[in-house]
């Protein structure tokens, strides 16, 4: 895996130097807490089984970070790199394709976890949100969700000829899911008809898994979500490897 450490480090630096992606991954989630917290507060509510609105939203906002990275940052970067000829420059070096992809996944994962950390810190400082799960289990849940959504992101990036097409495809997938999956608006608040649609959205399973782990459920309690994400990971990876083009 020669060059893995160096490429991961460069990818992290490039991410931080891109103001738009930094904003949406690191600053936007705490802003969601400020906005929705001001609207709903965090008083215990029977609708959320005695938890407050912010307590149940932490997992959803984490899903927002995951999908921002997976459906926006990854496809746009890959599309952009293909369009500009960055991928060709890498292809013409001794960089192995699996090192390229591993470094990119690790960097995106680290950025996601950093975003999650800032989010949880803000929730804790502003609303004293309750966390009843195990830290390691929740973080692993984020990583597992990330692998599935990122793989899907690489598939979009492999299919799209350039950055603009990748952005359009990413947005078409991203926006409906943001509002229909329980990520930004808790599922309990959504009408029943939408809850039925939500079962078919990948992000819903991310929200379900993370919310379960957040409140102390085990992985076995969320076997459907875990399995759906595994399916997305495998299918996306197989397709992405087939359709990926350097130029």
């Amino acid at each position: 895996m020669r060059g893995l450490k160096e490429l991961t480090w460069i990818n992290l630096k490039l991410f931080i130097r891109e103001p738009i992606s930094t904003f949406f991954t690191l600053a936007f989630p705490p802003l969601l807490i400020l906005l929705f917290g001001a609207m709903y507060g965090n008083d215990p509510s029977p609708m959320f089984g005695g938890y407050g609105s912010m307590d149940v939203s932490m997992s959803g906002y984490t899903a927002v970070i995951l999908s921002t990275v997976g459906f926006m940052n990854i496809p746009i970067t890959i599309g952009n790199y293909r369009e500009l000829g960055v991928l060709r420059r890498y292809q013409a070096s001794a960089l192995r394709p699996r090192v390229f992809i591993t470094a990119d996944v690790i960097a995106n994962m680290l950025v996601t976890l950093l975003g999650m950390l800032l989010l949880v810190l803000s929730g804790w400082l502003l609303y004293d949100v309750r966390f009843e799960g195990k830290v390691l289990s929740f973080v692993l849940g984020v990583v597992w969700s990330g692998l599935a959504l990122f793989a899907f992101g690489y598939l979009i990036g492999s299919l799209a000829p350039g950055a603009r097409a990748a952005q359009v495809i990413g947005m078409v997938i991203f926006y409906p899911m943001m509002f229909l999956s329980g990520a930004t608006i808790p599922m309990e608040v959504l009408p029943e008809s939408i809850q039925h649609i939500a079962d078919y959205l990948p992000l819903t399973h991310v929200v379900n898994l993370l919310r379960g782990l957040w409140f102390g459920e085990g992985w076995g309690d969320n076997i459907l979500a875990v399995a759906v994400l595994a399916g997305i990971l495998v299918v996306s990876t197989v397709f992405a490897v087939r359709v990926f083009r350097w130029e």
Binding site: R2, R89, S93
Partner: protein, 305 residues
């Protein structure tokens, strides 16, 4: 001399277009080998088949004993590539990119050495997007040198550069060769091929038109030379055509072009003019160039081809 590249009857087709059509040649260690021809002649496809970035439809390539498109990593460790079109992430810094690419290889050159050698030391912290065309091109050469390669590939290295930058690129390429690497380049500038290359392969429509040293290619045209000058007073220049070295004379107003050959072609005409008391100025000889070779071999001007 050791052969570093041997191609045998390579062909590559895109749709109905035969980009490369049965090309066979070899490149020896330590030479600057140039492929010239107009846009669309098949130069880039040829160079990319040798680099292993493309697989020819048929034919074989031997690069340092490897099959480039199969032994990608073995080849990548030993060669350096500058692509005709490529880029780096816009916000990567110059030195960062050299350190990064160096990390991909077992053998690597110190980035500071490369920065100094390519005149990029004062740009080491600049972002890729802030570099000028010439600076980007020098950075791409530095990236191609980062693994101390045995063979370097430059595809249209000087396209888009101003004449001054182009000349300094030529010096760089000569330095790289003098330090022991073999250089394989493509260009559509005939002057570049003539000044820079030890041997030149002229390509047109996917085929080899000629392959030799620039001098031999020019000599093969025949040895007609040209003497050009301006005359101040009335003088019938046609009288010069009686001299044994002169083939023909063209005169348009004060401007005279004398075509001919022979060892003392120019000096004998000058002596003839002085004897006749002709007041002439702006005298210069014009030797045929690779441009003329291309024209006579293909019937096309390279610029319009």
């Amino acid at each position: 001399m050791r052969k570093v590249i041997q191609t045998n009857e390579i062909t590559k087709q895109y749709g109905s277009v035969r980009a490369v059509n049965g090309v066979t040649f070899q490149v020896e260690e330590g030479e600057i080998f140039g492929v010239v021809g107009p846009n669309g002649a098949g130069k880039t496809t040829t160079i990319e088949c040798i680099e292993g970035l493309r697989k020819p439809d048929s034919g074989s390539v031997d690069l340092l004993g490897y099959v480039p498109w199969k032994d990608h990593l073995e080849v990548a460790e030993r060669i350096g590539i500058q692509l005709q079109e490529s880029a780096l992430p816009l916000r990567i810094r110059v030195k960062e990119s050299l350190d990064l690419f160096g990390a991909f290889y077992a053998e690597r050159e110190d980035s500071q050495v490369l920065l100094d050698r390519l005149g990029l030391a004062d740009k080491s912290k600049a972002m890729f997007s802030k570099l000028s065309g010439g600076q980007k091109q020098r950075l791409f050469i530095a990236l191609a040198l980062v693994n101390k390669p045995q063979v370097l590939f430059f595809d249209e290295l000087t396209t888009g550069l101003d004449p001054h930058a182009r000349r300094s690129m030529w010096d760089l390429v000569r330095q790289i060769r003098d330090q022991g690497s073999t250089v394989f380049l493509t260009t559509h500038f005939m002057e570049e091929a003539e000044r820079l290359c030890d041997r030149v392969l002229i390509m047109d429509d996917g085929k080899i038109v000629a392959l030799d040293t620039p001098e031999a290619l020019i000599r093969s045209l025949g040895v007609e030379r040209r003497l050009v000058f301006t005359i101040a007073n009335h003088f019938d220049a046609q009288s010069l055509s009686e001299m044994p070295q002169v083939d023909r004379v063209e005169q348009i107003g004060e401007r005279v072009v004398v075509y001919g050959s022979g060892e003392r072609f120019a000096s004998s005409i000058v002596r003839g003019l002085e004897t006749s008391g002709v007041d002439f100025s702006d005298l210069r000889t014009q030797d045929p160039t690779l441009e003329d070779v291309f024209l006579s071999l293909t019937g096309k001007e390279i610029r319009e081809a």
